[in-house]
């Protein structure tokens, strides 16, 4: 059977349609003229078109539709004429009865029905089977629609006679017509009728399926694909029978038969017949489609009741190439939807009850019972369900060793989903799956490692679904299975999934088509025990140990992954991906938390470091700072707590806790040291900061010796690595030296950092404090560049002049206490280390002083006023006006020694501003006289530079275009000069403002 070409087919179809329309119109005309026999002839004529062999199923369907409508009009006509005949008869009867009231009329039944039943016989003379059967059906069903028809006989006859059409397409449409026409006429008012109707539908289904399957084998074998496609187009015709079946079952309510149960009926009657047919047809398409329909069409309860059979007797026996996983997935999806629907229902009920609860609290118990009643309704035993599925899987596994791994993977994935949705807390079932997979599916040979991607999903699904990552702890075989993945990158993917889940990073990916119970706000879970740490970190170890290197190489080769240079590019390249993972690690460290037991928390952090975090030096640099900061913070909390307790209960001995704190500080410094060992060369500035933090905390916690030692560590780091930072950190080298905030060198920055920490330390005794600040100032004075020297020295001046108390109320700083006690007696001995600075300063100092300290007289007045303001605080603040002055003097000398006059000028102005601060803060030595001297100095310098400037400008005018480079240069200088003068102007106007508004700076001449 070869079909004509497409264009020919179109022409043929058009011809058919035209003829149908034509004949159909003729038929209607005849019917209007009450010429029934002629009408039937036309009907038969257009039905003859359905005998064609030359159209595709789609085109045939088009024709079918047209014919269907025409036949409907015939049916309507017959029905109306039937009814009018009945009417007439009734009338005549009534008249007869009126005439002869006594006689009982018997001819009623005999005379009404024959009209249609005669027609039913008449059309059977039609010589061709297709028109004959269509006419039989249209008349038969019309007859069925009347009240006195022998419905069941007609049904049986029609379905029996349909056997005559064995041509697949024509047969399918014919039987579809039968099913469409009978749709609303099937009797099911009592159990006998119901049973026969069911038989009718099943019979039609079976025959249609046979025809459908047979279509595959029609025609030449080269058209197999075409046939397959055609069959797909026709599948709905077959499926419609099952739909109808399901509706009938649904509609039939048992009719007084109390023992009737639709589930039982389905289980004993429908299911076996249908599934047998599905198995018997041994057709791939039919099986996959019909099983799908079966699953979709019938209610879930039915499937629960027949599940075991469906799996073990049906699925197992299907076409070996049919993907069982698809069927399983449909089925499980169905169950999952069911579950979701039921639980939605339950919550709705809950909500409703909640409302009523509010109103009538007394009825609380009653309504709770109701809830339970509702809940029972969908109480499916997960274990039982799972066991059935699981046994099926085992059978499948044994019966089909060739089953592809994709199938295994998909099926197990759906099992996991099922278990998760029905009972997320049921870990036994999940673990069964992982156990089996670990032991049977995953092997270390080559082939299986190719399949590993499949297994990934098995592991990912529960991670995403679980409410808590910690649920994984209940699945010992999850980890076993995870370990069996030989491809590290898959392990990493899983590990990342775990991290993401833990951190609440949503991976919006269509993979998880079941959505876990949603929570509005993500709440972090804490790892509070070492077991929990182990539970999570055992998955993270692969990311720690097996990081970076080979990944980077492949990336290089492919040139895909963007890299980031670290350590100024000296053999330092990392990927952003690596950084991202490190970032996540750090976040996990934050989740090692125990809000109620900081001691435990500390030991856990230490545990995590020892066991996991120190496994790879690459990671250490990115994870340790977090770890160290976290430990320090916890120490801070513990320390403050301990201080508070001590204060409250002075008699109690807290040495135990003290010891603990000391130990932990030592531990911290060991950790910092470990980081230092690994990353000394490139990350010493970071390490310095960590030490500084530790030192700060130690000081706050009154651990003076620890704090002192930690500051010393800072100096060691400084001396060992930062003092000569030629190899690193040239990031801000291009910065303009005029810019006081711009940066400067790394050692300069380090000094500022240390300085800022020292300024805020309060619990050193004076001796230690001064030794530290003196040392720092000395470092500052030895920096390479003049501007760095100058600035660090004037900044260091602040170390001798505290402005804030910082301590808790009632606390006194030991630094200050000693000042009081020692100032009188031991001041001399302290001077020793400082003198080094002083002596070097003094030489130039005197020269400068000669210029500036001309009028020192008004100093006293200012001092008194300022003194009064700060009187109360002064006691608790460490202040040494002389040392401040010394520092400023030193800064002036350095500024003066600059080769660049513009830079000198800028630095002078900066020092002036610094002096203003000290003046406000009440340093008696930085008085108006001193400041006036400084202003004079600056003014003189400006004047000097002005002439230079003018000269330069003049020179440029002469040289004009000849010397562009010079022009730019001097231009730049001019700009700097202008900026400095502007700053100076702003400073002066600030002074003026303050004089007016705040009564400050009295005596300063602007």
């Amino acid at each position: 059977m070869t079909l004509p070409s497409i264009s020919e087919q179109k022409a043929i179809l058009q011809g058919c349609l035209n003829n149908i329309n034509h004949q159909s119109n003729l038929m209607k005309q005849c019917l209007n003229e009450n010429n029934l026999l002629q009408g039937l002839k036309h009907c038969s004529n257009f039905l003859n078109e359905l005998r064609t062999n030359q159209l595709s199923p789609k085109q045939y369907y088009e024709m079918y539709i047209l014919i269907f409508d025409s036949l409907e009009s015939l049916s309507n006509h017959l029905l109306t004429s039937h009814n009018s005949k009945v009417q007439k008869l009734k009338k005549r009867q009534q008249q007869q009865q009126q005439k002869e009231p006594g006689s009982v009329n018997t001819s009623f039944d005999n005379t009404t029905s024959p009209f249609l039943s005669d027609l039913y016989e008449l059309v059977q003379y039609s010589g061709n089977i297709i028109p004959r059967l269509y006419m039989m059906i249209v008349i038969g069903t019309t007859y069925m629609a009347t009240s006195e028809a022998p419905t069941k006989e007609i049904m049986k006859d029609m379905i029996e006679m349909c056997h005559g059409v064995q041509h697949p397409i024509r047969g399918l449409f014919l039987r579809y017509y039968l099913s469409q026409r009978t749709k609303h006429l099937l009797p099911f008012s009592n159990s006998i009728d119901f049973n026969e109707t069911i038989e009718f539908l099943i019979a039609n289904f079976i025959e249609m399926n046979k025809l459908w399957v047979r279509l595959q084998h029609q025609g030449h074998s080269s058209e197999r694909e075409l046939r397959y496609r055609e069959r797909k187009e026709l599948k709905i015709l077959v499926g419609s029978n099952l739909v109808r079946l399901s509706q009938i079952i649904d509609d039939y309510k048992g009719n007084k038969d109390e023992n009737y149960s639709s589930i039982v009926f389905y289980k004993t009657k429908i299911f076996p017949t249908i599934t047998e047919q599905i198995i018997q047809c041994r057709d791939h398409l039919a099986q996959s489609y019909l099983i799908d329909v079966l699953i979709q069409i019938f209610p879930d309860d039915f499937h629960f009741a027949t599940l075991e059979n469906l799996l073990n007797n049906v699925f197992i026996n299907l076409h070996p190439l049919l993907k069982k996983s698809e069927l399983i997935s449909t089925l499980i999806d169905r169950f999952i939807t069911y579950n979701k629907f039921q639980s939605d229902l339950a919550t709705e009920v809950d909500e409703k009850l909640a409302v009523t609860d509010d109103i009538k609290e007394s009825k609380e118990t009653q309504s709770h019972e109701q809830v339970e009643g509702e809940a029972e309704h969908f109480n499916v035993d997960v274990d039982e369900l799972f066991t059935i599925f699981w046994n099926f899987y085992l059978r499948l596994y044994e019966s089909d060793p060739e089953l592809p791994m994709e199938e295994h993977s998909t099926i197990l994935q759906f099992y996991i989903k099922l278990s998760l949705v029905y009972d997320p807390k049921n870990f036994r079932n999940l673990d069964t799956i992982y156990k089996f997979a670990t032991e049977n599916l995953i092997t270390s040979d080559k082939e299986s490692s190719d399949n590993e991607e499949l297994w990934l999903q098995l592991l990912v699904v529960p991670i995403r679904y679980f409410k808590s990552v910690k649920d994984l702890f209940n699945l010992p075989f999850f980890h076993e299975f995870y370990l069996k993945l030989t491809n590290k990158s898959y392990q990493k993917q899983i590990s990342l999934e775990i991290i993401n889940k833990f951190l609440g990073i949503s991976t919006n990916d269509e993979l998880l088509d079941i959505s876990p119970p949603t929570t509005d706000e993500f709440e972090y879970e804490y790892l509070t025990t070492t077991d929990e740490i182990d539970g999570i970190f055992k998955y993270l170890l692969v990311l720690i140990k097996d990081s970076q290197q080979q990944q980077l190489n492949t990336a290089k080769n492919l040139g895909i992954i963007k890299t980031i240079k670290v350590n100024n590019g000296d053999n330092g390249l990392i990927t952003q991906e690596f950084l991202d993972i490190q970032e996540k690690f750090c976040k996990i460290i934050h989740l090692i938390e125990n809000p109620v037991d900081p001691f435990k928390n500390l030991s856990n952090l230490m545990y995590a470091r020892r066991k996991y975090l120190n496994k790879n030096s690459q990671n250490i640099i990115y994870t340790y700072p977090t770890l160290i900061n976290k430990i320090l913070y916890k120490l801070k909390i513990i320390g403050y707590m301990s201080l508070k307790l001590k204060k409250r209960n002075p008699k109690v001995d807290y040495s135990n806790q003290d010891l603990l704190i000391t130990t932990n500080f030592k531990n911290v410094s060991i950790i910092i040291d470990e980081l230092y060992q690994h990353h000394q060369q490139y990350s010493s500035d970071l390490i310095l900061k960590l030490y500084l933090n530790a030192a700060t905390i130690a000081d706050q916690l009154k651990q003076e010796s620890l704090a002192y030692e930690l500051f010393n560590q800072c100096f060691i780091v400084y001396e060992e690595n930062l003092i000569l930072s030629s190899h690193q950190y040239n990031y801000y080298h291009h910065i303009n030296p005029h810019d006081s905030l711009g940066g400067g060198s790394l050692p300069y920055q380090s000094i500022l950092l240390i300085g800022n920490k020292l300024i805020n330390s309060r619990y050193f005794n004076k001796e230690n404090y001064e030794s530290l600040i003196t040392k720092l100032t000395l470092y500052g004075s030895k920096l390479l560049k003049k501007q760095d020297q100058c600035r660090s020295v004037y900044y260091c001046a602040h170390l001798w002049w505290w402005c804030e108390n910082l301590l808790p109320p009632g606390e006194k700083s030991p630094t200050v206490n000693e000042v009081k006690a020692e100032e009188v007696s031991e001041a001399k001995t302290e001077k020793q280390p400082e003198e080094k600075v002083e002596t070097s300063e003094d030489k130039t100092d005197e020269a400068q002083n000669a210029d500036k300290q001309d009028d020192a007289e008004p100093e006293e007045d200012v001092d008194v006023e300022a003194g009064e303001e700060v009187e109360e605080d002064e006691e608790s603040l460490y202040r040494d006006d002389k040392r401040v002055l010394e520092c400023l003097q030193k800064a002036l000398r350095v500024a003066d020694s600059c080769m660049d006059p513009y830079l000198s000028l800028k630095l002078f102005i900066e020092i002036l501003n610094r002096c203003l601060i000290f003046n406000v803060y009440g340093n008696a030595l930085i008085d108006s006289r001193y400041i006036n001297g400084l202003i004079d100095l600056i003014t003189t310098n400006i004047d000097n530079l002005k002439t230079d400037d003018n000269e330069a400008a003049f020179n440029i005018d002469i040289n004009d275009a000849a010397n562009n480079g010079v022009e730019e240069d001097t231009d730049k200088e001019a700009k700097l000069f202008r900026q400095s003068r502007n700053l100076f102007d702003r400073t002066l106007s600030y002074i003026r403002d303050q004089q007016i508004n705040e009564n400050r700076f009295e005596g300063i001449i602007v």
Binding site: L503, Y524, S740, L741, L916, Y921, D993
Partner: protein, 236 residues
């Protein structure tokens, strides 16, 4: 014109993320760029640490992103990350100045100011930069005040990252006297007190600048709720 000032995030070093309510508030359309069409400029005061994610988040908020280096930032990594996001190779400065109408706004992380956080030192910086508004950070405490005719803004830490500075001193504390003599077990109450007194409240600021006036909106996140305060500054 709205400008966001935000800083001291410390992700991941001291904090996991900014509060999700802040995220939603700042980025109403997370999938478009810019993700907030009301904010015209973002000023970040540094201490982002290595979180590319949060950098991207801040960068995508508006069409203009200004970043200064924070104390703990690794300028090398940060600048390369920013390069990858923005395709513009610019060094990350320690301070910067932008001009809105009549207002010059300077900003810096402030860790290189000695003494850190000292009002006079800050005033000095403002004078040097010749700005009307100085935004600084590094203290994790949100504050805003006018001094000597200039406006000083510290937007605090958007994540509430902890610091190692001295805790804020609360005078009214420690009057109660409990005779709880348990030595080695932890007194949860005391623990909580300590944690509370040391807690940092997540915050950021929005500057609405117009002419010579800046209206500052201070957003804080306390007890799961976002609170907004308003301060207005007008340049004389």
């Amino acid at each position: 014109m709205l400008t966001l000032a935000i800083g001291d995030l410390y992700i991941p070093e001291r904090s996991v993320d900014i509060p999700s309510k802040f995220r939603k508030l700042l980025s109403p359309n997370p999938n478009s760029i810019p993700s907030n069409n009301k904010i015209s400029e973002v000023i970040c005061l540094g201490n982002i640490i290595n979180s590319n994610d949060i950098l991207k988040f801040l960068y995508n908020l508006s069409n203009s992103f200004h970043l200064v280096k924070g104390e703990f930032d690794d300028s090398q990594i940060l600048s390369q990350q920013l390069l990858a996001i923005s395709n513009k190779d610019k060094p990350i400065p320690l301070h910067n100045v932008i001009v809105h109408d009549n207002l010059r706004i300077g900003f810096t992380n402030g860790y290189q100011i000695v003494p850190k956080n000292d009002p006079l030192a800050l005033s000095n910086v403002a004078r040097e930069l010749d700005v009307d508004i100085l935004i600084w950070g590094g203290t994790h405490k949100v504050e805003a005040y006018t001094l000597d005719g200039r406006f000083f803004i510290n937007p605090g830490s958007a994540t509430g990252a902890y610091t190692f500075d001295w805790p804020e001193q609360d005078d009214a504390q420690d009057i109660e006297d409990e005779s709880d003599l348990l030595t080695n077990s932890i007194d949860v109450e005391v623990l909580n007190e300590v944690i509370e007194s040391d807690a940092i409240i997540p915050s950021f600021c929005l500057l609405d600048t117009q002419g010579s006036t800046c209206t500052l909106y201070i957003y804080t996140y306390l007890g799961g709720e976002v609170k907004v305060d308003k301060v207005t500054y007008t340049k004389e």
